[in-house]
Amino acid sequence: MEEQPAQEQKQQDAAKPGPGGQELFGYVGIEAVLDQIRIKTIKTGIEFNIMVVGQSGLGKSTMVNTLFKSKVSRKPLSYEDRIPKTVQLRSVTHAIEEKGVKMKLTVTDTPGFGDQINNENCWEPIIKYINEQYEHYLREEILINRKRRIPDTRIHGCVYFVPPTGHWLRPLDLEFMRRLSKIVNVVPVIAKADTLTLEERAEFKQRIKKDLKAHGIIVYPQEDFDEDPDDRLLNDKIREKIPFAVVGADKEHQVNGKKVLGRKTKWGIVEVENSAHCEFPMLRDLLIRSHLQDLKDITHNAHYESYRTRRLNESNMVGKSGTEWVPLSPFNGEPESHL
């Protein structure tokens, strides 16, 4: 009953009638449900799955390590490691905790993407992987005897690393983003942005935005999912700034007597967490501090639902044609049929 004194204070302004609703004559305590939700979240913990896609050497692993301030992503052991002949997907899961809030973080890396001479269809293994996660979830959900908490391995956000050419988006970038933005939240970032000056960055961003618009590619945050005017305002500001120009670093240096994460060069130290130097803080805020739940919600309510609808419709059609049950083979040719 320690909440009692605080509640007494709230009594005065709490009892306003809602719009068109029932008038309360006094304090009831309904808002205590917010605390209950908070407690519940802390108890159950969060699952978050992120995928990083981009050519090798763009600093993907470093970026993820910087984001989560720990060694969650394995860098290639040595640079003589062969670049894989096909795109592989490697997932690593870690449990991290902050102020009592536990998170199960899974980072999926895609070595080999865009590294071949002929990169045709290199997005297919990735699309297949994402759809497989949806499939697992769907199978669990459809069981008669299902688990209390279905383990969520679906990709909540896909960070796409654009090489800092300064010109335009390459055909590979466009193809990939076009296909993937339909099934997952894509967050494009300009990698290794410390090779571009601020003006070059601004110009590059404008061109990228134009390109995306011209090709009808909708990246996160999607306009259609803005729930109310406040959301829209916030997301519009973000949409102004994407793609974020980021720099990743996991070494600490001394600047003005403070230890900061940064990259040391002969002409100065690029501070990763300084918004004047790069937009890493904005990316971090977007992904973790403000829109983490939103990423999960959109994945669950929009992308997963559309996958489910597609799947169930397909099974319906197979049944109708009277043929035998076709065991749903791993999506050979499926990515093309609906994209």
């Binding site: 809602g18 108890k43 301030k69 902050e98 199978r139 805020d285 049944g319």
Partner: protein, 422 residues
Amino acid sequence: MGEGCRTVPLAGHVGFDSLPDQLVNRSVNHGFCFNILCVGETGLGKSTLMDTLFNTRFEGDPASHSQPGVQLKSSTYDLQESNVRLKLTIVGTVGFGDQINKEDSYKPIVEFIDTQFESYLQEELKIKRVLHSYHDSRIHACLYFIAPTGHSLKSLELVTMKKLDSKVNIIPIIAKSDAISKSELTKFKIKITSELVSNGVQIYQFPTDDESVAEINGTMNAHLPFAVIGSTEEMKIGNKMMKARQYPWGTVQVENETHCDFVKLREMLIRVNMEDLREQTHTRHYELYRLCKLEEMGFKDTDPDSKPFSLQETYEAKRNEFLGELQKKEEEMRQMFVQRVKEKEGELKEAEKELHEKFDRLKKLHQDEKKKVEDKKKLLDDEVNAFKQRKTAAELIQSQAQQAGGSQTLKRDKERKNSGFL
């Protein structure tokens, strides 16, 4: 959590500790909904208690006692407190316990709860669904009002609670507890608890697994069932206005913990466990309903190496089965129709034959008659011929007699004869 994955220490502040706040914001934007079912005999103060709990006046007149059966009346209200919007649905039983034969009284209640589960299940099974904006109408808490007899539970109460305990979170409360004295109350509570336990009725236990609420929930669990009093009238006591009931021998204060357990009920139901009640409803009661319903419909989880989408497949199989049955029925009906037509045809043929026979018979009759008539005619003709011959013969004799020197008398005789003849 963290099975098969390592724990990594963080080198600095990442910021995902704001996630609970993000979730809270999302919930606030979305709004909450909470559905309470009040079960109890008419006149136990259910509506008044709801008014008191939520500090407002819900509409509705007191129910009459002459209902033919138990009905459930549901009303939804929009409450708002600071920035929290709550869509509250209160379902009351009208006419419960008023009938002479109460054997089936519990059935409408169970049906109502099942209907809510069913509509949620239907939505969940749809191909194109909108679960996150679906108005959840499943009952989250059931307040069972026990009549304040002071002795023990009535059999109706026991039976109803037993039927409901696997479908909804039951919180038993002793209604109008100002009718019981303190010492009687303790005995009454003990008796009720022991009866519930001995009959295996599972009432809702406040959760004690989280440290922040474990203590308070633990103590409250020991006070069940809560003895409550409801009142919406305010009296001036001391120098504050309080909700109370005034009797000639004193005033019962609703919010005084020594007078009744109302404050405890409000604390437990709304301020501490509302979210847990909703979660239990979804993860325990609803899942149980879903399991039973789907098994009843014939669905099974297939084994690992079998085909995918058991639900869809079984559904398809059932559909084909159903279509097959329809076809069979159609065939049967067709057969029956053909049969009937044949029969009718046969009948008609029979009738036709009969008619023919009759016609033949009549024809024969007609011919016989005709023959008879012709015979008679022939006879008559013969007679006429015979007569004519006689006449000619007679005339001949006459003319001869005249030639021989006939007399007038003979002539006269002849004339007389002729006239007699003519």
